[in-house]
Each structure stands twice: as structure tokens, then as C-alpha cells.
Symmetry: C2
């Protein structure tokens, strides 16, 4: 078994290859002056099981095509099985036709990956687990809740876990269960699919003097989290923590979040994180998953 | 039959739909804040033959994924046949393993397009025609030589047509045949595949006092063309013209070319062209190709 990382691996292959004690495969990667990606396997991979790590954070399309090149080439060169670890899976929020005629982008992405030769797909906290049905092969969606807990335990006291919307309810329930003496609440978000405007319908809960944890899978522009944090601050919340799996923090997202009264922001290191975000290392979770596969 | 263009169509769908007198299909396209593409068909396409125009100039990977979304969705929505016109096909220069272990990028790209549902692929002056074998479906590679001639005829007199390397020889021969009283020469280019350095081996030809046309399929950084033009200028060439199919002109390419003594640069409008390049419209060539398909 060999392990390699492409341009979006966020460096995870290095620690991972040490922990599971498997060889790190170097891959030559470059960009031509016009922006075309180039990849080359500089070592023989015939007969090997190969783990390729590539997270699909922006520029997601470039990373996606690079992944197609790597998988197609690995198979061409005689790799036995190709296992791809995609810590952050782009396009997962477009998982159905919210309006007639829309692309189901995650379907296009996942079916292409299976076609090109991915035998096993490992991802973390995909937006909707049922989207994995579009991948024609074996897959695993890793639950990061225990990683959240290992960071938050002892930091927060008697917290209220807040799900920004119905989609994050499961996450909030799981986290709440693993944190002793915690309760959870859900905000209801209504998104107008035509204009894109968002309205939050808040629920009554006494957060006065209590620690609050806002939990979500993806933070992009940070608008939702900032709105909710401001509301909670008004209601007298003590410390407000934000924990997410995939902290994209597009543009001024992080400033917006801290300005709204948040004390601390945590994210898995499925994507590169800016200063001001406390990283939660996913290596233990990936290690467990790899070991469960019994690769040779 | 319907015609539509995606973000890389370079506007070609508008004129084309008028000339062939077929309906222009509007598609809603946008980018989410994190850079993910979104597309939506706002009209019913069931049972229709659909022509999608998308050229793959930089950012080529973004345009490629958008094309996958469009084709997959069109088929999902019940389109009968999907014909894609890709005036400029990215990754065509990486058409074999020049070094062991390299990706054959054009293979990955073309096999993915056939998998996702493209029934018919039309392109113009692909770097190597035999690459189309990687596309599992019908395809057409359109020869632009007569378009070149329609622009150059009367402008150049008794010209020498120059192929910058062996790969452009066929183009030079064809162009030379259609231009009366012209001759052709080939420069030999040797590219070191490891270091990337390029050396030109020039051939003896008397260009003194004659018009010269340098012809190539793709101009990217313009280095090759500029080197050759300088050499020809030293040898006493009169006017030097450059004609190409896909003028990418990355960075300072165009300045470099004009500084080397070139009088005028022509390119097909398969890609958006900067000021200083005389566009050659491909609409007539595409019209002919579409009409030959007998679509309903």
C-alpha cells in the first residue's frame, strides 16, 4: 500500500503515512503557463493499493480535474485498487433539484469519480450522507463528532448546542449527547431558492449565562453563523463557540464571525485554515478508516 | 434542435443560432461565493437535440466541470442527443506519455466527456487528430485552413509559410497549397522533456525580401513564435505575419511577439482575443459542420 497527496491534500499524507507506517509516494505536479495541470508518477505503482488524498476546497474544479488525472493514470499504470480520501467534498450542497432544471452537481461529480476508476471513496461529514448513492462503488462517510468533543470537553461548561438549521440537527444531537449536561436547539432557516435571501426563525431557549456551541458542517461566507451568534449574544449567552467540519471562510467570513461576538472558532483541518481558527486534526479519524480497510 | 453556450462559449452561440435559424436556449449560470459553479436549464429540453458550445481556454478546469454539469443535466432532463462544440480543446498537447508515469491528460478529458453523455464532439484544429480516438463517440475535427486563406489572400505576396516545428508541418503544407505561389519551410524544435528547455534548429531558406507567414495551432507564451520571427527578421524577411487557431497569449505573449518584429497576428476566435489580434470568425466553419449533421 502506498499513500500520496495531490495539490489539495493540505499536507495530510505526511503524518498519515507515518502513523499507518506505509510508504509515501511522491508525485510530480506542475502547472503549465496557461494553467493546465500536469501530473506524473515517478515510481512504479503496479499491483499496489494506492491511497490518494485530495480535498476539494477552492479552486475546487482544478483540484477535481487533477484528481481525475491521478486516478486515471494510476489505473493505467497498473494500480490494483485506488482509494481516494476527499476530506472536503465540494458541490455537496447541490444534492437535488431545488428548482426544475437545476444540475445535481454532487451527482455529476461522484459518478465521474467512480467512472474514472476510484474503487473506494472516503470522505468526512458530507453535507447529506445519502448523496453517496451517486458514487458507484464503496464509500465511507466519517463522523467527526468525537473529534469535536476531544477539543471542547473541559473548555465549555453546561453548554447549549445550537444547530443553525434543520440540516445540522443530527450533528447537534450527536454532539450534545457526547458532551455531558448539554442541551440542543435548532434554528429554522428558510432560503428563498430564487432570490437566495435567508431568514432565520429563532426558537425560544434560555441561553442567558450559558455557554453556547454553534455547530455546522460547512462555513462558507459565515453569514448564518454571524446572524445566529448576534442573536444569542442579545439573549445573554456567555461564551459562544463555533465548531465546523469544513471552514472555507470565504472573503471576510472570519472577521464577520468574530465581530458578531463569537469567542472561538474550531474547524477540522479538511481544508487549509487561516489564523484565528483552532484546527482539529483529522489524522486519527483517517487512520482508523484506513486500518479498517485491511489494505495490503 | 436547440443551441446554447456556457461561460466559455465566447458568445459564438448567438450568431450561430441566427445563421442556422435554430432557437437559442438560455441557461442560468452563476458562481457561489466559494467558487462552485451552478447551472440550470430554464426551458424544457425533453426530446430535443441540443448543441452546447464551451471552449476550454483558461480557467480550463472550471469550464470543463461546468460542461460536465450541463451535459449530465441535459441527459437527465431527457435531451435526445447532446452535441458539444469545443472550439478550443484544453490539454490536447499532453497526448501521450513523453516520460514514464505521466498522465495522458487529453485521454482523461475525452473519455470523461463520452462517459457523461456527449454523443457528438465537434472541435477545431485539435493538436493531434489521433487524440480523438480517446473519445468514445462520434467526433469531427474541423480544418481552419480555408478561413486563414480568406484573411491572408491579397494581404501577403509570394509568401514563405513557416511551420515552427514538425507538428505544424501539415498546417503549413495545407496553407501553402491554398495560397498561390507560396513555399513552406519547417523549423525543427527540440524540447527537453525533463528541463523543459527548447532549442530551434533552423533550416536554410532564402526569406530575404519575402513575406513570411508563421502558422501554428496554439500560441501560449509566444516564446517559439518570437524566437523564429527574430531569426527571420535577421535573415531579411519583409513582412512577418503570424496566424494560429487558438491564441491564448498568456501573460506578455503578445508584446513579446510584436517586439520580435511581427507585423500582424491573426487567430481564430475559438478563445477571447486581446486588442492587437485580428480575429478570424469560426462561425462559417461551425455552421457547415452543424448542417452536415442533419439534426432535427
Amino acid at each position: 500500500m502506498l499513500i500520496t497527496g495531490l495539490s489539495g491534500s493540505n499536507g495530510l499524507e505526511v503524518g498519515l503515512s507515518r502513523v499507518v507506517n506505509k510508504e509515501l509516494l511522491p508525485i510530480e505536479m506542475k502547472l503549465f503557463p496557461d494553467g493546465e495541470s500536469y501530473i506524473r508518477f515517478v515510481k512504479d505503482v503496479r499491483g499496489e493499493d494506492l491511497i490518494i488524498i485530495q480535498s476539494l476546497y477552492p479552486n475546487q474544479d482544478k483540484k477535481f480535474f487533477e484528481l481525475l488525472l491521478a486516478v486515471d493514470t494510476a489505473k493505467d499504470l497498473g494500480c490494483r485498487r485506488v482509494i481516494t480520501i476527499i476530506p472536503y467534498l465540494a458541490y455537496a450542497r447541490q444534492d437535488k433539484r431545488f428548482l426544475d432544471g437545476e444540475a445535481i452537481s454532487i451527482k455529476t461529480l461522484l459518478k465521474t469519480l467512480s467512472f474514472i476508476g476510484v474503487d473506494y471513496l472516503i470522505t468526512i461529514d458530507i453535507h447529506k450522507e445519502e448523496s453517496l448513492k451517486f458514487f458507484n462503488g464503496n464509500s465511507m462517510n466519517l463522523d467527526p463528532t468525537k473529534l469535536y468533543v476531544s477539543k471542547l470537553y473541559g473548555v465549555v461548561k453546561n453548554p447549549v448546542v445550537v444547530a443553525p438549521d434543520q440540516g445540522a440537527l443530527d450533528k447537534a444531537v450527536k454532539l450534545s449527547k457526547l458532551l455531558l449536561n448539554s442541551t440542543y436547539v435548532v434554528f429554522r432557516k428558510f432560503r428563498d431558492r430564487v432570490t437566495g435571501s435567508i431568514r432565520h426563525e429563532v426558537v425560544d431557549v434560555d441561553v442567558s449565562g450559558r455557554d453556547v456551541i454553534i455547530v455546522d458542517d460547512i462555513i462558507s461566507t459565515g453569514g448564518t453563523v454571524a446572524n445566529i451568534a448576534s442573536y444569542l449574544r442579545e439573549k445573554g449567552a456567555s461564551n459562544i463557540y463555533v465548531v465546523c467540519s469544513h471552514g472555507l471562510f470565504v472573503g471576510e467570513a472570519l472577521s464577520k464571525i468574530y465581530s458578531s461576538g463569537v469567542s472561538r472558532v474550531y474547524s477540522l483541518n479538511t481544508v487549509p485554515l487561516p489564523v484565528g481558527v483552532e484546527p482539529i486534526d483529522i489524522t486519527p479519524l483517517l487512520t482508523e478508516a484506513i486500518l479498517s480497510l485491511n489494505l495490503t
